[in-house]
């Protein structure tokens, strides 16, 4: 029982970072109705730049954070310019495959700059875990959870209480009507990409600072964790993204404890598969309608 609770606590903390990755994913998907496979690799590029200033210039954590986020945003915008902006409506599959090609590109670029398999990343917090009776709370985990909740609340506020949020939601709802209402849809899309990449950059920073190391595989990891959490929580829903991340984190932490890391990964995909087959709308999203069908020819 103690184990279960402790695992659940740990799972909630790591799950909050999955939730942040899913949040970025869902923003891009919401605006573009397309899948950006290069999402994780863009964050990885940011993290590599962060590591670079850490290793080469011995920069402090704050500088590393800023560089990571800025790098993620720049890489994200590069992906948007190359894979999304020039694609005509109806070329959703082409965008997706193109973003995959750029993934390969970003990964190789990262390996060229920093060729070793792993590099150190500055730790988030070195304080001892806080003890509550038989339970321990890792400080970095707490920071991660707090950041996730604050950021998702911030994004929610931004979307529902600001002018630019109005533009984004209008674009998500109906791009043609948004054009006619005088909303600059292109700018809204670019903003969504930048925002999503920034959220991803923060999530990436938090994860890597907890792990204290970075590898080129982080890009793929981030894409898949974000994707799974997004689908579990429900496509297009911000609370759903966070909830999906937390659920994924809790399931992973417990299965890792009881069955080991390989079964953990297996169960994550079983959860994804079961969720899609049994409840395609996810926990908080709406069931897919034919109109929202994406990736198909008309999308």
């Amino acid at each position: 029982m103690v184990d279960l609770v402790q695992n659940t606590i740990d799972g909630l903390m790591i799950g909050s970072s999955y939730g942040l990755l899913a949040l970025g994913f869902t923003l891009i998907f919401g605006v573009m109705r397309r899948l950006n496979l290069s999402y994780g690799p863009s964050v990885m590029v940011g993290a590599y730049l962060g590591t670079l200033v850490y290793v080469q210039l011995a920069a402090g954590p704050l500088v590393v954070l800023v560089v990571t986020v800025l790098g993620s945003v720049l890489a994200g915008l590069y992906v948007e310019r190359l894979c999304f902006a020039p694609m005509a409506a109806g070329a959703g599959v082409a965008s997706m495959v193109s973003s995959f090609a750029i993934w390969m590109q970003l990964e190789q670029a990262a390996v060229l700059v920093l060729p070793r398999h792993t590099y150190p990343f500055p730790p988030l917090a070195t304080a001892d875990p806080l003890a509550f009776g038989p339970f321990y709370l890792r400080v970095d985990g707490l920071i991660m959870l707090a950041c996730a909740l604050a950021l998702s609340a911030g994004v929610q506020l931004l979307l529902y209480r600001s002018r630019v949020g109005l533009a984004l939601r209008a674009t998500i709802n109906n791009p043609v009507a948004a054009h006619l209402a005088g909303i600059d849809v292109r700018t809204a899309v670019v903003f969504a990409f930048a925002l999503a990449s920034a959220v991803g950059g923060i999530a990436g920073y938090l994860v890597l600072a907890t792990d204290q190391q970075v590898t080129p595989m982080f890009g793929m990891w981030a894409t898949f964790k974000g994707l799974i959490a997004m689908m579990i929580g429900g496509l297009g829903s911000i609370p759903g993204a966070i909830l999906g991340g937390l659920v994924l984190g809790v399931v992973e932490a417990n299965s890792q404890w009881y069955f080991g890391p390989q079964v953990r990964d297996l169960l994550a995909y079983v959860l994804l598969f079961a969720c899609l087959v049994l409840r395609p709308g996810g926990l908080l999203g709406e069931a897919p309608s034919r109109q929202q069908d994406t990736g198909r020819r008309g999308a």
Binding site: Q108, V111, P115, R116, H117
Partner: protein, 145 residues
């Protein structure tokens, strides 16, 4: 149900076709009795050039454990994480003075885990695969090869 029946028929047709193709290839070589197999130990060292590694390969007879000399050995490489995308042109691995020992110099395209394909020809035709992780400044074989 017609569709599913058709699927079954097509799968069966595919099976027959491949069996037919096999009959041509396999007819020349009836199932051989127990054949000699090779076993390999690979140890690689980085060189002064980045991504270039010096590998020493010790071949033994899998059954008797004796060193396996006198074969022609070439070494190719593929990345299991990107199968068939990074096939490195096979290099010849000439024998060393010590029997069963061969040496190859590999020029890889990137760091990571590589499946080295040791192609034996001459008295024994075989392929042995060794998994080696290449990193800047070091290389490490995975046991079990």
């Amino acid at each position: 149900m017609t569709a599913l029946r058709l699927a079954g028929a097509l799968a069966a047709a595919a099976a027959c076709l491949s069996a037919g193709a096999f009959a041509q290839v396999g007819a020349q070589a009836p199932q051989a009795q127990v054949k000699m197999r090779a076993k390999a130990d690979v140890a690689c060292r980085p060189t002064s050039t980045a991504l270039h590694y010096d590998c020493t390969i010790r071949l033994t007879n899998a059954r008797t454990g004796e060193p396996l000399g006198g074969v022609t050995l070439t070494v190719g490489a593929d990345m299991p994480s990107m199968p068939m995308m990074h096939s490195v042109r096979p290099v010849a691995a000439p024998p060393e003075p010590e029997s069963g020992s061969y040496r190859a110099r590999l020029a890889l395209e990137m760091h990571g885990d590589w499946a080295l394909q040791l192609n034996l020809s001459g008295p024994l035709r075989d392929r042995v695969v060794a998994i080696v992780r290449f990193e800047p400044g070091r290389a490490e074989s995975r046991p079990g090869g």
